[in-house]
Assembly symmetry: C2
Homo-oligomer: 504 residues x 2
């Protein structure tokens, strides 16, 4: 037994993953930890998948509701989806097995703004939360739970569930203790109070979760790494997008619309986000802040160089190399990183007050500035909206980024009409591809179309878009947002029919 469980009464509750999984029953709703492959339970979901298989073998069905922070890993989403053990999944996933089950109609999935999840669970219409299954980094002598490498909705799951199962993961650094800020002041209306964060680094909570010991029905010890996907080297498109983004920030500073220290930055996850961070590191700026969801490797560089002085998020998403660097410099990083519950990291009130500059990836944008973040060909879910809506609607400037094409050019990411809308024309300020940047602020729809086509579309598709726009300007039912409805989604149909959006 590791020394991570300092409370003697709770040490007595240590059990095997199988014993813990046996505490979860068919039909239960289980609130699990996990956000972007960090801090998810690593042993009990696998044992639960075995339990589900065994039930199935004996002719009994076994499905549960799985609520998380955001995406997890193959040991959780993958294993449970593979076992057909998930009846309903929310609020975000990115697992290939899970995605395939959802798009085959075998699993229900509710794609929710990440800041809304806790409120929805408290409100009760998602049903009762039976079990919380939460990874922690340790338990103090007083019985406080030290959060792991993500917070997500863990505070809410622990508060709401009848039964709490903990995984104490000794792989997570003990020094995480003190980095978290768990706010216990949320409430349902009419009892809500202002969330008094006035700067990205303000602390308003406590560094641990509070859980009545009698609710803790089992504790499982693990020593297992987070998913920690290695990042690919930054590719040329990502670098070009990052350059456009950083030029834009410089332009806004010169125009007097942003202070020289910028405003708190939110950045999505992945290659483009890392390229933006790398670019910022080369920009010579210092003393910036981040108010974001996830801390990637690039953020460690910027904290070390002083480009960023403080980063607030709800989770890490580091590569294996990033984890080593984080551990080596953990005393330094402790002073500069705050992890918060996702209802606070993504809180509309705070995002708007701080004036966050948001940057999120997307699947496609249309010429009028509507953005599809979630559905391929309008029907097939990719991952989910995640926090992009929390940030886009409330940000001071909301940018969306994508390479101008996908599938080796067979897909244009700038289309006449998006096949699904997650962010409306009212919430998209700036679109960036490797081709360039379209600042849509203060432009009526037809002006936006000109700029998106000229600045962002791939040259291969630009003439087709110009042709559509010209004909729509003559044949549309109205000229505020001219569309030819028989043709607006034809690019997607052509791709499904021929494998390419190209006309020929």
């Amino acid at each position: 037994m590791s020394d991570r469980i300092a409370n003697p009464a709770l040490r007595a509750k240590v059990m095997s993953p199988d014993e813990a999984a046996a505490l979860i029953q068919p039909g239960d709703n289980v609130g699990m930890s996990g956000f972007t492959g960090a801090g998810y339970p690593k042993a009990v979901p696998l044992a639960l998948a075995d339990r589900i298989h065994a039930f199935r073998t004996h002719g009994h069905d076994f499905r549960i509701g799985v609520w998380t922070g955001a995406s997890t890993a193959p040991e959780l989403d993958g294993a449970l989806a593979e076992a057909d053990g998930i009846e309903l999944r929310l609020p975000y996933q990115s697992d290939p097995v899970s995605r395939s089950k959802i798009n085959s109609g075998l699993m229900e999935y509710i794609d929710v703004h990440l800041s809304h999840v806790a409120q929805m669970a408290w409100e009760g219409f998602l049903g009762k939360l039976d079990v919380a299954l939460v990874e922690v980094a340790g338990i103090t002598a007083e019985g406080h739970l030290i959060p792991s490498s993500s917070i997500g909705n863990n505070k809410t799951w622990i508060d709401l569930a009848d039964k709490v199962i903990l995984e104490v993961n000794s792989w997570q650094p003990e020094q995480l203790q003190g980095m978290h800020d768990v706010y216990y002041g949320t409430a349902l209306p009419p009892n809500r109070k202002p969330v008094m964060i006035l700067e990205a680094g303000d602390r308003i909570g406590v560094p641990h979760f509070i859980c009545p010991p009698e609710k803790i029905v089992g504790i499982v010890e693990t020593h297992a790494p987070d998913r920690n996907t290695a990042f690919k080297a930054i590719d040329e498109d990502s670098r070009a997008i990052a350059e456009h983004f950083i030029d834009f920030l410089d332009h806004e500073v010169r125009a007097g619309r942003m202070p020289a220290g910028l405003l708190p930055l939110q950045s999505g996850v992945g290659n483009i986000a890392n390229a933006v961070l790398a670019g910022l590191g080369e920009s010579g700026r210092t003393g910036l802040t981040a108010y974001t969801e996830v801390l990637q490797d690039g953020m460690l560089d910027l904290l070390e160089s002083g480009t960023i002085r403080l980063a607030s998020a709800t989770a890490f998403s580091l590569s294996p190399a990033g984890v080593e660097r984080f551990l080596a410099g953990i005393e330094f990083f402790r002073e500069r990183i705050i992890l918060r519950p996702q209802e606070i990291s993504n809180h509309p009130e705070v995002i708007r007050r701080l004036g966050v500059v948001a940057s999120n990836g997307m699947i496609e944008a249309d010429i009028y500035g509507n953005v599809n973040s979630t559905h391929i060909m309008g029907s097939r879910i990719q991952n989910g909206i995640g926090g992009s809506g929390d940030f886009a609607r409330n940000a001071f400037i909301s940018t969306f980024v994508t390479p101008s094409t996908a599938k080796d050019g067979a897909l244009s990411c700038i289309v006449p009409m998006v096949s699904h809308v997650d962010h409306t024309e009212h919430d998209v300020d700036v679109i960036i591809t490797e081709q360039g940047l379209a600042d849509l602020r203060g432009l009526a729809p037809r002006r936006r179309a000109e700029r998106v086509i000229a600045n962002c579309a791939h040259p291969d598709y630009r003439p087709m878009l110009e042709d559509y726009t010209e004909r729509a300007g003559k044949g549309a039912w109205g000229l505020q947002t001219p569309h030819l409805l028989g043709e607006a989604l034809s690019w997607h149909r052509r791709f499904m029919d021929t494998g390419s959006m190209r006309a020929h």
Copy 2:
């Protein structure tokens, strides 16, 4: 000269509407008062339209940018649009002449969340605001400006403009003085502070606008009524929708998800909203509050009966009969009504904190819960998004209402895919038609479709929707949100081709 101008120095600035209009130059951006036909300037825009005609006659072009609170009236939007005097209009309009010019491509229109307008103007990318043209109810001896029957963006226009032109309208009751709460604490980030409204009735500002007298370049006296459209009698569909809405509120209270005193109500404008208010009056509830944009006649009934104890808004929108009742009871209403700037009445932070129950009209919804509030057949703007997005995204419960059909049944307001998205599936909790109510909270998309079709669609269109859903469930590219892209917008195409969405 009326006695509404108590400040002697400012009395000296009184001039004719023509003299005031001569202070507005071609190319100017003019921030005008006016919100839902209340408190708009009534003399200078007409004189300006004449000035524009005269310029045109002499071969000179004359166009301005018109920024308002929301919709105005024929004397403003109608007259200036008729004169082709508006280059760019924002953030909302509902005038038939203006609408026609926009949809003919003769006027640019930016359709903006009403809470975002002030921030956008301060940020500067809309360009310089040259003139503020604002109706007030009077000027105090100290030179404070007493707001009129709407506040809208007037505080921002007065702060930002180089030159301020006032219309002092003695038709507006003097007793408006003290009803307003003008908050002077907004700022651009990084200087934003919490907006400390914790209950709908909290006052955080001053009852007047502050304007350096040297900026006031002209004052015009008027005595003219607001637009004050008479409301139609409540029709059967509106009554049915209101009943479903009120049943739902009762259900939420019984389920323990809302206190017996409900949560602050937001209601849109028009017949359905008035029917909801009438229904609330008959419900026996007392002590409710409203945190909304506009106060219609029905709100006066509820305040008088005690159903509602306090109403916060940014504007009145009363019928002529409503104006008389308001004047007759003005001392009573003064204690129970607060008018605020629209950046506060619609502030995401406050709406979310208070837990507002939102109810907004729409053009159409689709089976998956996406809502079109603005565009007919995807291209032609009707009015604009107004405050519906401010409320829908941040409300505790966001409802959208419409009769199930329009144009004598030729249009179904429930369609396979909306032709324009203003509110995404992530932001629409409840859809209500006269047929019934679909509570979409906590449902995956295919479940939503079942419920919307069964509860909300008109029986004439229900089989067509079921048929689409069934075939999409087999032929779609993925089953999260099954669509047949070749057919998803075919109902709209059929209407444009044949005059009806019906199959035959």
